[in-house]
Assembly symmetry: D3
Homo-oligomer: 241 residues x 6
């Protein structure tokens, strides 16, 4: 199985740690290839950013299929371009949001999402409605740290812990979903810390969820429905060279 990981930003600064993170996932027999964008933004934190990264995500996704990949992971929690990519591709495509929500929904009745910034919230609320799971989300919280500052791990960990406790105590969240794929690797740490304080709630790491769910779809030979994701008709389209 060959999976293409599109890290949908115009810089490669996260690539090394993404590769390292994947090595912890114990994905036997899967070959991963990480690719960034030529056009777009350096991080995705609102619908404006999202709009700017999607066209080149679609480029890279189409190329991945041509090169024989078995599936495409768009490494961003907001699932940018995922629906559009499914229209043009015949291989599974996932982002971070849908897999996290689906895996989380199987573990508890009330989902709490903790993301990076307030600017992301309306986008995520829309995504939850789009997927029909909005009634299970009890809170959208944020650590107030921009994506590019997530590298300050101890600050991130403290903020995630603080917001998770609020989500559990104030909003009665039963499952915590990390709301940014840039938080990769924090799921385990956060869970351990919560367990120590007797909060026995699962924590979903969205990048991990994305990798495992697409692995399942490929293994089951399942692909998105052409009734939801119909093939675009031929027409003049003018964008990239």
């Amino acid at each position: 199985m060959k999976l293409k990981i599109i890290v949908p930003i115009i810089s490669s600064i996260f690539n090394k740690s993404i590769a390292k993170e994947i090595s912890n996932y114990n994905c036997q027999g899967i070959e991963f290839d990480i690719e960034n964008l030529d056009y777009g933004t350096e991080s995705i934190e609102c619908e404006y950013d999202e709009a700017l990264v999607i066209p080149d995500i679609l480029n890279k996704a189409k190329k991945a299929e041509e090169e024989g990949f078995d599936g495409v992971v768009v490494d961003c929690f907001g699932d940018p371009g995922v629906r559009a990519a499914r229209e043009v591709l015949n291989i599974p495509v996932v982002g971070g949001f849908e897999p996290s929500m689906l895996l989380g929904a199987g573990l508890g009745d009330r989902l709490g999402i903790v993301t990076v910034l307030p600017t992301v919230l309306p986008m995520l609320e829309g995504a939850a409605k789009r997927i029909g799971l909005d009634s299970k989300v009890v809170c959208f919280r944020y650590v107030d740290i921009p994506v590019l500052d997530l590298g300050n791990i101890s600050k991130l960990e403290d903020a995630l812990y603080a917001q998770s406790i609020e989500a559990i105590e104030k909003d009665n969240a039963h499952v915590i979903i990390l709301g940014c794929t840039g938080m990769m690797g924090m799921g385990k740490k956060l869970h351990n810390r919560l367990i120590e304080e007797s909060y026995d709630v699962p924590v979903i790491d969205p990048f991990f969820a994305a990798i495992k769910l697409i692995e399942v779809y490929v293994a089951m030979d399942l692909k998105h429905s052409r009734r939801t994701y119909m093939k675009p008709r031929d027409k003049a389209r003018k964008w990239w060279k």
Copy 2:
């Protein structure tokens, strides 16, 4: 009042008829300027097309604000780029969907949408959920005519009539919403034909609805909320020259 009309395709073939249509709207004291895209597609009929037109819509929208326009109309039923544009602009921005749904919701309890092609439906279903009015939509129907073939008016009119009758009789629709701004001018014709056959239901023409609703917002000095549409943060964004 100066309104920018972004016709979000890479051709200008509709511009003349759009200008003529606007002249029927009796918008006193409003100056209109029509603009097309440099990059994008020749029509918008699926989420893939939509993704490709949005970046240049945002370009044109930002330019419009800089040039002193009071509002921006994205002349497409699917509201492409409208939410992203609101994040970066301080003037009202509307597409065709939201105004049609809102005006239609004030005229009857059950809305029936008749659009161009089946490929458009999932996108519209998502838009209806996003705006929270999905419970009022009783059908999404289509005439099965691509956007670029809408010029065959008599064929379009017959198909719209046939689908509207189905919407009313089979789905118990109380209001008909034309699901493509390329159907401009058909609202009146369709309504007359329905009335002749004793179907006294209103028909919403989405481009007309868009123009009138933004006119209201500008006249009332109302603008989108910065709590829903937060300003994007500064960052590296690499796209157009």
Copy 3:
């Protein structure tokens, strides 16, 4: 265009200020006529009051159509008699609630309503469900001032400001809707004060919204659907002389 404004109470004390308020709306070419009720109550603050004012509202509305008016505005936030009037009339009829909700829904994802008294809340919750927009309302708040005391402008303004801040901060409202047409003219003031404190949220003035929305319906030659608002059958009805 000739619009009838039915101020649905048995006193004319608000008429002068209503006329003055309308003069601020810059409605060119529209002739307004204000009329009160002969039977009913001196203010509308619960479902009991509402029930008592509706029959004479229907009287006045029918007379307005006979006299050649193009539309009827029932100047009360709760839309008393609006649905019943649409059944008997062939011209557009609006109250304050539906227009405010529809215009507000186009400006932000989460609506906060601030009305006069707690006795009004169940009526408004019902109205929100009736129109299918209840999922967008995040709070129903009140200033605790009876309608007839709204004339104390500075007290009203302070109370509206205080409740709006609560709506924004505690309930995460993105749009404020003033929940009584007797608050006319306060929208602008409240918005300015919120902006000063960096709360950039739109404020909907329901009477202003009503006037502008019916203006749009008349201008677009749109009228309520006869599938939702069917003509009453002839029968013995015994009420007024």
Copy 4:
């Protein structure tokens, strides 16, 4: 226990058969008093009719409480004036709709309503939303017989049977609710006929349901909540002599 039955029309033609019907209900120890309206309509078949009957219903309901009745039944399926009456009264008040829906909801998952005329449907759809049970209603059907023609029992019975079969077979209704209190006594007949054809579904007779539910509320010493039905404030109200 003394119950006031308000038959909310301006004629007494149904009173005798109502009294006879009640005698079948085996209500031991309950004294019934039937009263009509002085002002209103001769039948209630749309929101316009409903609006016209409510004020005198409120009159009669208040008088009933003053005269020492223990509860008030408004003998109409649409529950006209029930919410308003609860605001002013301290004794239970029910119409036909709410009791039928509640009793029906305890007998099966999917409710089918069969009423008199299409003009009634929007009113009932609104009532179902108001009570929060709209998701359980799978169809609103009608026999197309005006209230004043319901006396043609064999025609009514055939039409009810035909519509109930449609409701069961086409809409998968599990419980049939008769949508007009003028259909009193038909529940048993319709149920027997359905059973003969192996359709083992309960049929709710709304007047019977109303009587039995208010009997329960009085017996349990339960009354509507003052948090939902707040006392109207004192004010000038000008209506009846």
Copy 5:
């Protein structure tokens, strides 16, 4: 009328007080028979407990029908086995939850449930969704007292009062539903105490509600729908001797 009361636990310690409580309900002409389980648990406080009591509830319910009872009350708020019992029985079967919710829904718009322990909450949330009334429930609260300790009446009364005040003040509950049939008799006491403090909200006692609702169903000759509760097919079933 003969009603079987199944107290679905393996001990008879509550039977005497249940019999005494029923004697307060003034159920003329009804004969009651109380029965416990041979297999199951000593109290029901989670889905695990519930699973263990259901088979013998079904045993006892089938026996009740064979012995000529007219209806079966499963004396537990969670309605354990009620749906399964309806499949096999031809007489009405109720638990405590559904009757309380239905009677409560007729008294106010917003229901607050106060139960025993947090372990019960997910089960009740599921039950509210199952019956389609979850949108009316504004809170699930608990007194944190196990079922077997409910005998400490003054402690229970204080805890119920405290939680009811929270439900009213913080969650804006309009009706209080006692969430355990072991709280029988507390409804009246709690209501009186709330009234004293000017909280005029009804309190539903679930056992009382169950008895009165099944009394109504039997009196109206109504039984659950065979479209929702289809007869189980014959097959090998191996459980009790």
Copy 6:
């Protein structure tokens, strides 16, 4: 990884074919153990059957954890006992329903379920509501074949195909979910046949979905939330020897 497969019926006739089916799933490094019930029914086709199998499912599930299994699959589409088992176990537990719904929801917007018998439908409708995905289900259909007759493969295949076509054409289903784990292995066959007829929709095989989803949960070290599935308190429970 060691997974326990509980086939929750009192016969072992399916065990051999289940073991064979699993061997097609290419689950490397997973050891499976299949176990039946000592008490229960020979098939599960209604809520009554379901109630009777759950206690011994819980027995077997607890034993599995004691014996060191890493997860438990209850091999039945209705998820019998799954929620109760999660309360008592510290390892993941899944049935067929939840995994199928979650995996299916990631592949298309509208889910169509095709199960065995009409008696199963209310149970599945309840399960869909419980999991909060009911708004995505567009139909519950059945092949009208009892579980024990599913061995007639060609009959089953034809019936599944016929119902799937109805689901797609009449109900506009985008994804087909096989509604009985006894249909294992039919997913691939049905999908191929649909593809041949140009219906490019995914088909979810619930047993396959269950195995792959629990594999993911174990691999990710994720377990159900203790906030949704709280530990049962100690108490007297009398059931099995």
